[in-house]
């Protein structure tokens, strides 16, 4: 029920945006993430972007995963 998936913002008009989810286009609401920009990936939950995915943190976690697995 708390499922959320990555969606790429293609265009923005007011509080609505067109987002791409693996080639499927959908209108989503940016009411909860007003600072989202075109080109951002957001976590999409029931038609609303609930956060902007932080690409730096995503890369950092992958780096950590690699370090941990090598240190084991």
């Amino acid at each position: 029920m708390c499922l959320a998936i990555p969606a790429l913002i293609k265009s923005i008009e007011g509080q609505q945006a067109e987002a791409d989810i693996e080639g499927v286009s959908r209108q989503i609401s940016l009411q909860l993430t007003p600072e989202a920009k075109v080109g951002d990936y957001v976590l999409l939950h029931t038609g609303y972007a609930i956060s902007i995915i932080d690409p730096a943190e995503a890369a950092e976690t992958l780096k950590l995963l690699k370090e941990l697995s090598e240190a084991s």
Binding site: M1, C2, L3, A4, I5, P6, L8, E22, S29, Q31, L32, T33, P34, Y41, L43, H45, T46, G47, Y48, I50, S51, I53, D54, P55, E57, A58, E60, T61, L62, L64, L65, K66, L68, S69, E70, A71, S72
Partner: protein, 363 residues
Amino acid sequence: MKFVNEYRDPELGRKLLDRIHKRSRKHTRLMEFCGGHTVAIFKHGLRQLLPDNIEMLSGPGCPVCVTAIADLDRAIALARLPGVIITSFGDMVRVPGSHSSLQQVKAEGADVRIVYSVQDALAIARENPDKHIIFIGIGFETTAPTVAASILQAEEEGINNYYVLSLHKICPPIMKALLDLGEVRLSGIICPGHVSTIIGSHPYQFIPDEYGIACAVSGFEPLDMLLAVDMLVNQIETEQPGVEIAYRRGVKPEGNTQAVRLMETVFEVADANWRGIGVVPLSGLQPRAPYDKYDAEKKFEIDPGPTNEPRGCICGSILRGVSTPLDCRLFGTKCTPEHPVGPCMVSAEGSCATYYHYGDDNV
């Protein structure tokens, strides 16, 4: 899918599992609070891959499952009112109430519509100005801000035929209630991912501080979950419980402050009735003034009658982590996804449906 596939690398997963096997020594009992995590654990076979000394329990993190039967009866009673259109997320429609279900009253002529987003409910309200549109508002902190946003949008657009039956629940109070019940002894909790996207990780700090229990917020891919387990093992083995985030691309310690602000603008914290647990003080959300004019409970008079729990169903004790679906006499025989008796078999992320679909040979 970007930000998904990278976290499914089987080679990295194997190495992380090796690391967990080498480092985990104590008997460890972890609860995954969120039903989405239960599904991820089963789907990727993680229970079987973790060391034998790590026991995994499913928690109450499935909004459909924890909806009290009395609240479901109220939704069904609202659906029977003339001039009403009920809008609801799909799973809710199939859960049996005391005497009926939303699906059944729909078959009898009530107007019950499944929506994907509360935006769809607002669209139905715009298209049907002569009807009362009621959204059955279930969900935790992940979903409640979207419903708050819909109420603010209704206010802005002057939509005056839109109402919410707010059955929303919030997570930290129920975690505390479960720990205070003391029925299960936990070493660590895998904290919910997208609830934490909204509320951040700070609200869990009382769990290590007051109960000495380790916490890690996890995402939903196998590597996210293994990283969370690794963090918990480390906290448990070193006896230094804390709150860590294994899902930093989606969760900031402070959460989404805009979403929290909208949620707190529209809703106030109230007591909530949890299936199998009962009324837990200050664990739910109801619309506050002036937004209480959107509160279906205040607008409509209904008499849902006495409640009647299904005989033999043990969803309540499964939600508290005291029993597993395999303890239930109805599981897989009288209760199946096609003919569910209790909510944990209806919801795609209910423990019973997950056990049914993915099996478990390691319990």
